[in-house]
Structure formats: C-alpha cells, structure tokens
Symmetry: C2
Subunit: 210 residues, 2 copies
Amino acid sequence: MLLYTTARAPNPRRVEIFLREKGIEIPSRHVDIGRLEHRQQEYRQINPVQQMPSLVLDDGAVLTESIAICRYFEELHPEPSLFGTTMRERAEIEMWQRRLEMGLLLAVASVFRHSHPFMATVEVPQVPDWAAANRPKVEAFLKHFNEILADRAFVAGPRFSVADITGVVAIEFMRPARITLDPALTHVHRWFGEMGQRPSVMINPPPPAA
Amino acid sequence: MLLYTTARAPNPRRVEIFLREKGIEIPSRHVDIGRLEHRQQEYRQINPVQQMPSLVLDDGAVLTESIAICRYFEELHPEPSLFGTTMRERAEIEMWQRRLEMGLLLAVASVFRHSHPFMATVEVPQVPDWAAANRPKVEAFLKHFNEILADRAFVAGPRFSVADITGVVAIEFMRPARITLDPALTHVHRWFGEMGQRPSVMINPPPPAA
C-alpha cells in the first residue's frame, strides 16, 4: 500500500492521526499542494479529482475519502477500535463523527476557503458572503458542542474515537481560518487541551496561521 | 423504536428507501416542516438541532444523521447488505457514498437552499452567490459521474448499495433546485431510470418542483 498525503491539510491529517493511534506504519508519498503538485499528471493519474489523501492498494486500486480509508484500516487492524466495538457504540461514533464533519469541519473549511487569500487561486470563485455566513454557524455549533462535552471525556462517550479526531482537526483548522475559540467555551478548551497531549496529535501539528 | 421523518426532504427519503430495500417496517411519526413543526417543542425535545430524521431507540436514546441510522439498521438486519459484504466492497461503497454525498447531494442542496424562495425563512442568510457557485460544481460532478457509470450497473460496483440511494435522492433533488439533468449524460439517465423502477424508490417520489 502507498498513502499519498500532504502537510497542512485537515483531511490528510485525520488519516495520519488515525494511523498513529493504531500504531500502523505504511509507506507514504508527500504531495506539495503549495507547488500545485496535486494538479500535475502523476497525482492526477492516481486521483482524477485531485483530492487528498489517496490510498493505493496492492492491486493498484485507489481508495479515497478520509473516512473510507480510516474504516479500511479499522478492519485491517481492529485494535484499538476507533469506530466502536458494540452496535450502539458504532452508531453513536458514526453520528458524532458526521455531526463534527458536517457541522464544524465543513463550516470552518468554508470560512477558510472563501476568505483566505491563499485560496484565491484554488477556490474559484471565492464567495466572501459564504465565508461570512459560516462564521455564526461555527459559533453556534461550538456552543452546542461545549454543552455536550460538559459531562463526557470524549466526543462520542467514554473512549477516544474517530469522532475526536475530526473534532481536533476542525478546531486546529480554525487558526488558518482566523476564527478565535471563545475562552468561555471551557469544556471545549479542556477537551481540546487533553487531545493535544496525545502523541498522535502532537506529531506534525499544523503551522501557525499564515 | 420510533422514526421521526418528513415528506419532501432528501435525508428522510434516504432512510425510508433504505428501510424499504431491507423490508424493515417500524413505527414512524410525520413532522410537517412546512408548518415548522420541527421547530416546536415536541420535536426539539427529541432533536435540539431540529434536523430530520431522528430515530428514538427503545431506551429513549436518540440517533440522528441518516447514514448513522442506516448503518444501525444494517447491523440489525444484515440482509440484503447495502454497505457491502467484504472489506473491499465496504470500502468502495463508503467511498462512493461519501463522494455522492459531498460532491453531489451537498452541492444540489446548496443551490436549493440558497436560491429557492421557499427557503428564505429557513436558510438565513441566503447567499445567492453560493447557489451560483454550486451550479458548475454539480455540472462537473455529473460529467465525472457519467463516465464512472459507463461500465457499471450500480454506483459502487456490481450490486445495489447505499451509495445508489444517495445518488438517486441527489438527482431527484435537482428538480426543486431547478437544475436540469443534461440529456447528453446518457449513462446517468440510464442508471437513474433503472433506479426509478425499484419499488423502494417508486413509493412517495418527491413532488414536482414548486
């Protein structure tokens, strides 16, 4: 297997944290998005839609979509489980993973992609009003998220899961999106601080905001 | 169990088609979005974020997110499998389900939510530029999708899966979003026509565009 990945992007980072939590090491190739390497022929042959990351399987088939890649590794290496071990746990983790993905990560990414000068050549057209419309969505979600975290150690219950990974990466991504995490959200701060102590998260943290 | 659902909305329809494909019948309660019943106290107590559908489990816990609900039923009633029976099949189905969800359903929904007069009081603020930016995204995705469908009967390979359900609902949703399906996309038309013959899809089709 070969993982095509890149630095400084939230989806590749989700897969990398996931692999470190599992203790899985696989060969990887770095694609430099800053130099638009993902648009060049080598990577376009791997993934025509030019998104990251991609996992090339041993028979040459290509698997994309971060969560599809994570699920594949969950089946290959079930321990420690990051998608849940009982039917009920799996349902709760899937629910929270998706809530954080659609409600937070996507909203933060929309602010970043539609307001940051770096994205002007990538996200065409940038729609500043869409960035503006997503700021209150992020704020509202975080307020709700803060209440949820008041009485639990992890996003989806008593154990660390893939839902925490999506949450961590979404909140990290607020920096380049230039969104401040309100100090009043004490439960989010507590949880995010604890997540930041995990070795899987401490490696290759995203750089300061550009 | 009790399923809170509503007519004319793509996510509830995904779950309903899924249940019919499985032959599962469960009690359901209809919430009238047109009358804003989802914002009233009864439903807000079930789901504070007021999204549809929600599944109330026998112990009172509430499961939301269409795909989390579908996965839960897949575990309860494994046959016929709609998420795949081998590791590789599950990975491909998950990949395509997500591609259709993020690349097509979300883009069509963005056009609808940000351009249709009916949504002016629901999606605040409506961002017309965002609707406009999503039209070419829908077009580009469908062109790619047409090539994919050229040599396969179903979205994720040789068998019907949850990825087909997301695709069908996304294309149905183009009508209220006022997006025309280009007649040149012959493989998409063929596939969509075949899907429309399935009893699970024929029941309660969405109404003509408002």
